[in-house]
């Protein structure tokens, strides 16, 4: 990594400044010679420090000792103070505060295509010989970077300030629902709780693999893990607050397949592109069919969180393909697999489908209406997914799996 040489700090020029009158007067009153004051300045004592000493009644003998100590301090070696990193950086907060992306200035803004440092050295810091490797395995920007990732991080942090499931949701608006509807909510939220656990596990699995040349990505993914924990929390609260149990667990094939992925780009396609697109549609569906203000207030922020995840997923895939266009077929192959497994999970999860049908029909007796709504959900979900794939540069319009294509009709 290129680093600029150290710039001498501005205060080095202080020794050349005129001595302020009040210092001269105080010094003379205590018997200091002008030469003594100039010597103090020459050894980089500041005007404020000299004035403090004078105000404290410092005699010329004390001053000489102070200067001697300062000389000793200057002569003492602090090698870490001059390690050749870029200094003089003064990043200012803008209208939205001091954001992570604002820090990418000068050499600190150089984000290399490959980060070769295996230790925990922050980007822009000076290395020390012998620092141990931490075991990271991801060192290529193309494998994890997304151009929007710093903003996604800061936006997520702001959302964490605003949305706190315990207190931000008007839980008092919940009232008992019909048994079949309530059980259906429990069933749907059980499956979505599992989705949230999958996200937490996947981020936990891959975060320690990512080297610190790309700390912005790690920061964003940390917020994603926290988002997932809030989703799990809020789904559980919504379910149990009714006094009813959780539902039947999902078949789990998609979870298993996602955990089987062997690289972060592959994992990200499963989690942050395909699954996120479908979860986004489901969150919108549940908001549309919410039964009270609490549910509406729940699925709105969930949807915003997933939108960020989808932005990362598309941005990451796009960056990878920009970096390595020859990997498109590999990525398309992963999606071939992922789509099929997602579709099989759906087909296998009759309880989930039926629960969505009951919710959309507001009761099992309206299953025709409910089923039509679920069909629409699937159509919207596939559309959203295909759009996300196109944005990522991985058009699936002619390649989406037959099961999903059938949902589009």
């Amino acid at each position: 990594m290129t680093q600029t040489p150290t710039r001498r700090p501005a205060s080095a020029a202080w020794a050349e400044r005129d001595i302020p009158d009040q210092i001269v007067k105080k010094a003379e009153a205590l018997g200091w010679s002008r030469d003594l004051v100039e010597r103090a300045l020459a050894v980089e004592l500041t005007i404020a420090q000299i004035e403090q000493a004078l105000d404290g009644g410092c005699t010329p003998e004390d001053a000489s000792e102070l200067i001697a100590r300062q000389v000793a301090a200057i002569e003492r070696s602090f090698p870490w103070m001059s390690v050749g990193t870029e200094l003089g950086v003064r990043v200012r907060a803008g209208q939205r505060g001091l954001r992570l992306g604002d820090l990418n200035v000068g050499s600190y803004g150089v984000i290399p295509a490959e980060w070769s440092d295996h230790s925990m050295r922050p980007r822009g810091a000076a290395p020390v010989a012998g620092a141990p490797a931490m075991g990271y395995s991801i060192f290529h920007k193309g494998d994890l970077w997304s151009e929007n990732v710093s903003d996604l991080y800061e936006d997520a942090i702001q959302s964490h300030l605003l949305w706190k499931p315990a207190t931000s949701i008007p839980w008092e608006t919940m009232s008992p629902l019909a048994n079949d509807v309530e059980a259906s909510m429990a069933q749907v939220l059980t499956k979505l709780s599992e989705d949230a656990l999958l996200t937490m596990d996947m981020i936990g699995r891959w975060l320690p693999e990512m080297s610190y040349g790309y700390h912005e990505v790690k920061c964003y993914l940390s917020t994603l893990m926290f988002d997932a924990s809030r989703h799990f929390e809020v789904y559980r609260k919504r379910t149990l607050a009714s006094g009813r149990p959780m539902g039947l667990q999902a078949p789990g094939y998609f979870f298993h397949a996602t955990k089987e992925t062997r690289t972060w780009p592959e994992a990200s396609l499963y989690l942050n592109l395909l699954d996120a697109a479908f979860r986004q549609a489901i969150a919108g569906f549940l908001k549309k069919h919410s039964h009270n203000e609490a549910e509406a207030a729940l699925f709105g922020p969930v949807s915003e969180d997933i939108a960020r995840q989808l932005e990362y997923g598309t941005g990451q895939a796009r960056f990878l393909l920009t970096t390595w266009p020859d990997r498109e077929e590999e990525m398309q192959g992963y999606l071939d697999q992922a789509e099929n497994i997602w579709a099989i999970e759906w087909e296998r999860d009759r309880p989930f489908r039926e629960a969505l049908t009951v919710i959309a029909g507001n009761g099992a007796e309206n299953q025709v209406q409910g089923r039509a709504e679920v069909d629409l959900l699937l159509k919207d979900a596939v559309s959203g997914y295909l759009e996300a794939a196109r944005t990522a540069g991985l058009s699936r319009d002619d390649r989406v799996c037959d099961r999903m294509r059938a949902w589009m009709v």
């Binding site: 919940m174 709780s193 959780m246 697999q337």
Partner: protein
């Protein structure tokens, strides 16, 4: 009926075929809703209303919802209390014993973390930073470089253990997620500080102690090394932030970080306590982890001179006063050691006093009775 579905039918190069055995009986015909999955049980009386702190996990975990097994067979994502589906694939190895990952305050700490999120972009009064003499600015930048690295590892370590926690003990998973995001904010805020006032990042630290945390082979090993020892020492330093900070922005940074670290410590101490109460036979094992980590912390070749010097310059008020600063640094170190010992006593490992690293021994106050 079992059939095999080829999920790689469109895999372009024809390789990577994977066949999944899936029971599809009755799964596709949907002329009418079957609703056989519906559970009629009402396990708690009616709709739960939010309490003074809102609707917390503790408030919904009433009746049988509050039952937490001492051992889990659940290697799937079925949340505790969900009906298990036969044949659901396992998702990797998880700890079976609750004691291996549990902390009685995990849910409480999780809720507190959610309530006390903050933003380094907008909650730190960056406009209150003023130019510092060069020695102080460089010292602060060096300290921030060190702390940024510490926070890197403090995020990666809990993250890597998250998949090993069963969904039956999801409170720990939730807590770990809050720690991961806390550490991201810490990483971020110290980097921001280093680049906000005319300085920059300086020299990385030695990293050996950090690697020791990351290299842990057991959740409790990670927790005792990171939460109880490492973050304990960092927390004591943050609480001395009033003396280290040179302006309001830095004071706020240390206060906010200390608030987060308190939760991390709280988890670690209570996990340790639960573990030694439940599995007292593991005491010696835990001591062995601490023996090594305390040794690394005291090895002058590995301890990081730059951190100590930069802190001493900040505490003393400049290079010229580094000797006074070093005295204050040693006072903080003494407090670090005593608070560490106190936390171990709270966790039920007071016997550590007798085998603490010899370099720490002279710093220990007499035991509290």
């Amino acid at each position: 009926m079992l059939i095999y579905i080829d999920v790689s039918m469109q895999y372009a190069n024809g390789k990577g075929e994977r066949l999944m055995a899936i029971d599809v009986a009755n799964e596709t015909a949907e002329d009418t809703l079957q609703l056989d999955w519906m559970r009629e049980a009402q396990l708690a009386p009616g709709v739960v209303r939010p309490g003074r702190r809102g609707l917390t996990l503790d408030e919904v975990h009433v009746g049988s919802f509050a039952d937490i097994p001492s051992a889990s067979e659940n290697a799937t994502f079925a949340p505790r209390g969900a009906q298990r589906r036969p044949g659901a694939p396992h998702n990797g190895l998880v700890y079976r014993n609750r004691a291996d990952v549990w902390s009685e305050n995990a849910a409480l700490l999780y809720e507190e973390a959610v309530q006390r999120q903050w933003s380094s972009a907008t909650d730190v009064p960056w406009e209150r930073i003023e130019p510092l003499p060069d020695d102080l600015e460089l010292a602060m930048c060096q300290l921030c470089t060190f702390l940024t690295e510490v926070e890197f590892i403090a995020g990666d370590a809990p993250a890597q253990w998250t998949p090993a926690v069963s969904a039956d003990f999801f409170e720990t998973k939730l807590y770990l997620a809050t720690q991961v995001v806390d550490e991201a904010r810490h990483l971020d805020v110290f980097r921001k500080r280093a680049l906000a006032n005319g300085g920059g990042l300086l020299e990385q630290g030695p990293g050996t102690g950090l690697r020791n945390i990351l290299a842990s082979l057991d959740f409790s090993e990670m927790s005792v090394l990171m939460h109880v020892l490492g973050e304990g020492f960092v927390q004591t330093m943050f609480r001395a932030g009033e003396f280290i900070a040179q302006n309001e922005a830095e004071k706020r940074i240390f206060r906010l970080c200390a608030q987060d670290e308190s939760r991390h410590l709280g988890f670690g101490v209570m996990h340790l306590r639960y573990l030694v109460q439940t599995e007292p036979e593991r005491r010696e094992e835990l001591h062995s982890y601490l023996d090594r980590a305390e040794g690394l912390l005291n090895d002058p070749r590995l301890a990081g001179v730059s951190m100590a010097e930069s802190l001493a310059i900040l505490l003393g008020g400049g290079k010229a006063h580094i000797d006074e600063g070093m005295q204050r640094f040693m006072a903080i170190r003494k407090r670090q050691v005593n608070e560490y010992m106190h936390r171990l006593e709270v966790a039920g490992m007071g016997e550590r006093r007798a085998r603490i690293n010899p370099a720490f021994g002279p710093l220990l106050d007499p035991p509290r009775n």
